[in-house]
């Protein structure tokens, strides 16, 4: 077994490779743990389908709240699955290995956040038209709902990641994760739900999309940095 010692000339690994490998790793883990994959989707479906039972099956009543219901359920489904993001890695020591990589932590954390979104956010986006139909959302608002969720759910994963990174080292976290993450996520919820409601009333929605896009840009650039710093503190 030839083992080169202290010479890594020509064996540099690129950040892109490390990014892809981390993304792939998290997706493979999720695919092997069917529960993690199904839990957020099932939760989303159950919560949304309880509303017609709790409020009223009346189409007029339901269509008024439909946008808010789908958005709130998407937010809760995302939060429910957040814990998987770093917990197992923290407990088995993989997180330490991640922190000790020569690659920029920003991209490795971003890869993990994207994996989390692909697992918990994207299925919600894909299923949302079906649930919107169930809740009698007017058909002209379908695309707005899907688009707001498509822009909004990555923000939920990225901001949520900060909260998990801060709390991963704590023994019993209880509600502290929600207390940290919800204030960051609620603007997305408000704007997303408002955009869908405005479309139902025929109002312009360009400004809502501009705001959502701005929040996503902010989250993509800043949130992984905050998560990285929080992870270093948690592992300390």
């Amino acid at each position: 077994m030839n083992k080169p010692v202290s010479s890594h000339a020509g064996t540099e690994i690129s950040t892109w490779q490390a990014f892809c490998a981390t993304l792939k790793r998290d997706l493979v883990i999720a695919l092997k743990r069917k529960n993690d994959l199904l839990n957020p989707i099932m939760f989303f479906l159950i919560v949304v389908s309880l509303f017609p039972l709790g409020i009223s099956p009346d189409p007029v009543e339901l269509s008024k709240v439909s946008a808010g219901v789908v958005w709130v359920s998407a937010l809760l489904a995302s939060m429910l699955s957040l814990d998987n993001l770093y917990r197992a890695d923290y407990e088995d020591g993989s997180l330490e290995q991640l922190l000790l990589s020569p690659q920029p932590l920003y991209f490795l954390v971003l890869a993990k956040n994207i994996a989390h979104w692909l697992i918990s956010g994207l299925p919600v986006v894909v299923l949302s038209p079906l649930l919107a139909y169930m809740l009698y959302l007017p058909s002209e608002a379908y695309w707005t709902l899907v688009l707001t969720l498509l822009i909004g759910t990555p923000v939920l994963s990225l901001f949520g990641s900060i909260g998990v990174a801060l709390t991963v080292g704590l023994g019993s976290r209880g509600l502290i994760l929600a207390v940290i993450v919800l204030p960051l996520s609620t603007p997305v919820l408000i704007i997303g739900a408002k955009a869908v409601t405005d479309v139902m009333f025929g109002l312009p929605i360009g400004n809502h999309f501009a705001l959502l896009g701005a929040i996503l840009a902010l989250a993509l650039t800043m949130a992984p940095l905050a998560s990285s710093a929080a992870l270093r503190i948690s592992v300390n």
């Binding site: 890594h8 490390a18 092997k32 020591g93 993989s94 330490e96 991640l98 000790l100 020569p102 592992v235």
Partner: protein, 222 residues
């Protein structure tokens, strides 16, 4: 336990240098004024009773813990300015070994390699084989024993180009053969010009330059 250096790296500046390290935990001073030089071509064993700060010292050296006072230099320059080069030349295996239970040994090593230096499948399989895990490459790690999981983590040493190994209790769960394997691995690395810092309660039997730092006697002397 002093043996003559067999592959004397030219008496050069140390690879890593710690000066006046001070660390306290829960209002208890673990160590103060600790100086430690780590040269290429030597193994440094950190000794001490449970709770004497061995793990904390290793975590400070590898950059996971920054809750200390003092200076650490890597190749003559402040560690925090050399992070990227340091992380590329250092491998740390803690008592949480960093092996995911759902993935197979092969998948675990592939990811480790991608974080540090590329390693193809042939090298990964060879590394696992050398640690006695032939035919276990594709079994989920949750089905492996604690010792085998430890061996998966140790296989990383073979696919990594790192010159400095920082190992926290690498012998704990290994069987007799595993201990011998690891000892010869350590000796090979040091004799090839690498450096190792490790903690263990096990009586080391290595054929390379080695010395010990005892945190208990330091404290008693202070």
């Amino acid at each position: 336990m002093h043996t003559a250096p067999q592959a004397p790296a030219t008496v050069s500046s140390p690879l890593m240098q710690a000066r006046a390290l001070f660390c306290e935990r829960d209002e208890r001073v673990l160590f103060s004024g600790l100086d430690l030089d780590i040269h290429a071509g030597e193994l440094v064993q950190i000794k001490g009773s449970n709770g004497s700060g061995k793990t904390t010292l290793l975590r400070i050296l590898c950059g996971l813990n920054d809750d200390y006072e003092g200076d650490i230099h890597w190749k003559g320059e402040a560690l925090y300015e050399q992070r990227e080069d340091f992380f590329a030349s250092m491998i740390y295996i803690g008592h949480r070994v960093g092996v995911n239970r759902i993935l197979t040994p092969r998948e675990n090593l592939r990811w480790s390699a991608s974080l540090h230096a590329p390693a193809d499948d042939i090298r990964i399989v060879a590394a696992l084989g050398r640690l006695g895990l032939r035919a276990y490459e594709d079994i989920p790690c949750r089905n492996l024993s604690a010792g085998q999981t430890q061996r998966v983590a140790l296989s990383r040493l073979l696919i990594s180009p790192a010159s400095l190994w920082i190992l926290d209790e690498p012998f704990t769960t290994l069987d007799v053969q595993g201990v011998k394997n690891l000892e010869s691995l350590l000796s090979e690395h040091v004799n090839a010009g690498g450096a190792i810092v490790l903690t263990t309660h096990h009586a080391l039997n290595v054929t390379c330059a080695s010395r010990a730092l005892d945190l208990d006697t330091r404290r008693a002397a202070a």
